[in-house]
Amino acid sequence: MEGQNLIDALRPGPDCPSIERLGRYADGALSLEERRREEPHIAACPNCQAELALLQAFATPSVREDEVKAVQWGVGQLRRREPEIFDRGWLASSNVRRWLSFGSVRPALTLAIVLLSVVGGYYFTNQAAPKLPADLGSSPETTRSLTVTVRAPIGDQTTVPARLQWQAVSGAARYRVRVSEVDREELWSGDTVESAIVLPAHVRARIVPGKTLVWQVVAFGASNAAIAESNAARFRLVQ
C-alpha cells in the first residue's frame, strides 16, 4: 500500500502513553516520578506531540469567522437534544448497567412484563366500570400502601408553615420526619406517633422566601422496621 510505512510510523506506538495518561500529564496530575518517566518519550514523540496539540486546540477553542454559523446551528441542535442526552446517559450509566445485569433482576423484569401484559390485557377486554366498596368514605383515614402520602406543605407557601402533615399509615407505630435542603443536606429530623409534627422554631427560621426545602416521612411498624415512606415533598415560601 502506498505510503503505508509512513502512516504506520506516525500512528501511536506501543511506548506511547494512553490518551488518558497523556491528559493527566497535560493537567500536571502525574506524580513527579511518573512525569520524569514519561517526559523524555513525550518530548521526542511526534505522535504524542500531535496529541497534545489536539488537546490544546480543544482546551482553548477559537471559532473562526467562517465557522460561526455552523457552530451556532450545532449548539442549537444540541440544546434541543438535551432530554435525550440525559435519558440515554442515565440508561448507559454504570449503576443502571449493574442493576440490569444483576442475575435475579432479569427474571423479575421478565415476570413484571408478563404480569403487566396479562393485567393490561384483562383491563382492555373488561372495560366495565369498577365496583366501589359499599363503605367508601366511612373507613378510618389510613392507607395500607407502602407509600406515605404527604399533605402539607407542598409547593409555594404564603406563610411559614407551622407543621408538617401526612396521611396516617395502617400499622405504623411511629413516623420519622426529615427536612433537608435541596442538595439533601439535613436541616432537622424528628419522630412522632401522630400524622403531623410541629416544626421547631430554629427550622422555621430557615424557611426564607425563595428557598426550597425538601421533607420526607418514613413510617415504622411495631417491630421498628420501616414499613412505608413518602416521596420527597418540596415547598418554598413566596413573598
Partner: protein
C-alpha cells in the same frame, strides 16, 4: 451557578445524583462546553450535522460516566478524552468503509506518494527509521502536520485551523515540503547502506 468552576459543579452534582437540582448542575456544566465540542468536531469533520451527532454521543458518555471523573484532573481534559475516543471510533468506522471502496479515494487530491522512497523501506525497520529521519530533516511544524495528517487521519484544512497556520496554502504546503525533504533523506540514507 456561574461562579462555580466545572469541578465544583460536579462536586455539587455528586451530593445527590438523582435529584432535579443536581441535574441542573450538570446542565450548566454541559452547556459551558457545547460550543467547544461542536466547534472541535466541526473543524475536524467539516460536516455540521455529523459534528452535532458526535457531540451528542460525547455528552451521553460524559453523563453516563460522570462518577469516574477524578478531581485531580481538569473537566475539559476529561471531556477531551471522551471526544477524542469517540472521534477515533468514528475514524475506524470510516476506514472499514473505505476498505470496501477503491483505495485511491482515501488519498484523493492528496500529494502523490508514487515512487516514494519511503515505500521501499522494510516495514519492520520503518517506524524507527522514519522517526529518526523526520527528526533529522523536518521542522517541528512539519512533523506535527505530517503526524496529524497521516497518523491521525486529519483533513488538511482541519490541521491548518487546529494549528493556527497562517501561510497561504496552510498544512498542504508543509506536507509537500516535508515529503520532499523526507524523500531526499531516505535516498541519502539508502546511499549510505
Amino acid at each position: 451557578m456561574d461562579a462555580l468552576s466545572d469541578e465544583e459543579l460536579i462536586a455539587r452534582y455528586r451530593l445527590a445524583p438523582g435529584s432535579d437540582r443536581s441535574r441542573s448542575f450538570v446542565e450548566e456544566l454541559f452547556r459551558r462546553h457545547q460550543t467547544r465540542v461542536v466547534g472541535w468536531y466541526y473543524r475536524l469533520t467539516g460536516d455540521r450535522a455529523l459534528a452535532v451527532d458526535l457531540a451528542q454521543d460525547v455528552f451521553v458518555r460524559a453523563y453516563a460516566s460522570l462518577d469516574t471523573f477524578r478531581v485531580d484532573s481538569k473537566f475539559t481534559t476529561w471531556l477531551y478524552i471522551i471526544a477524542r475516543n469517540r472521534w477515533r471510533d468514528s475514524l475506524r468506522a470510516q476506514r472499514s468503509r473505505a476498505r470496501e471502496a477503491p483505495e485511491a479515494a482515501m488519498f484523493d487530491a492528496e500529494p502523490s506518494a508514487d515512487n516514494d522512497a519511503l515505500a521501499a523501506i522494510e516495514a519492520s525497520d520503518a517506524r524507527v527509521l522514519v522517526r529518526r529521519l523526520m527528526d533529522e530533516a523536518l521542522s517541528e511544524t512539519e512533523k506535527r502536520v505530517m503526524t496529524l495528517h497521516y497518523g491521525h487521519d486529519m483533513r488538511l484544512d482541519a490541521i491548518t485551523a487546529t494549528l493556527g497556520l497562517t501561510n497561504a496554502s496552510g498544512a498542504k504546503a508543509y506536507i509537500v515540503s516535508a515529503r520532499r525533504k523526507l524523500n531526499i533523506a531516505v535516498k541519502r540514507w539508502k546511499g549510505r547502506i
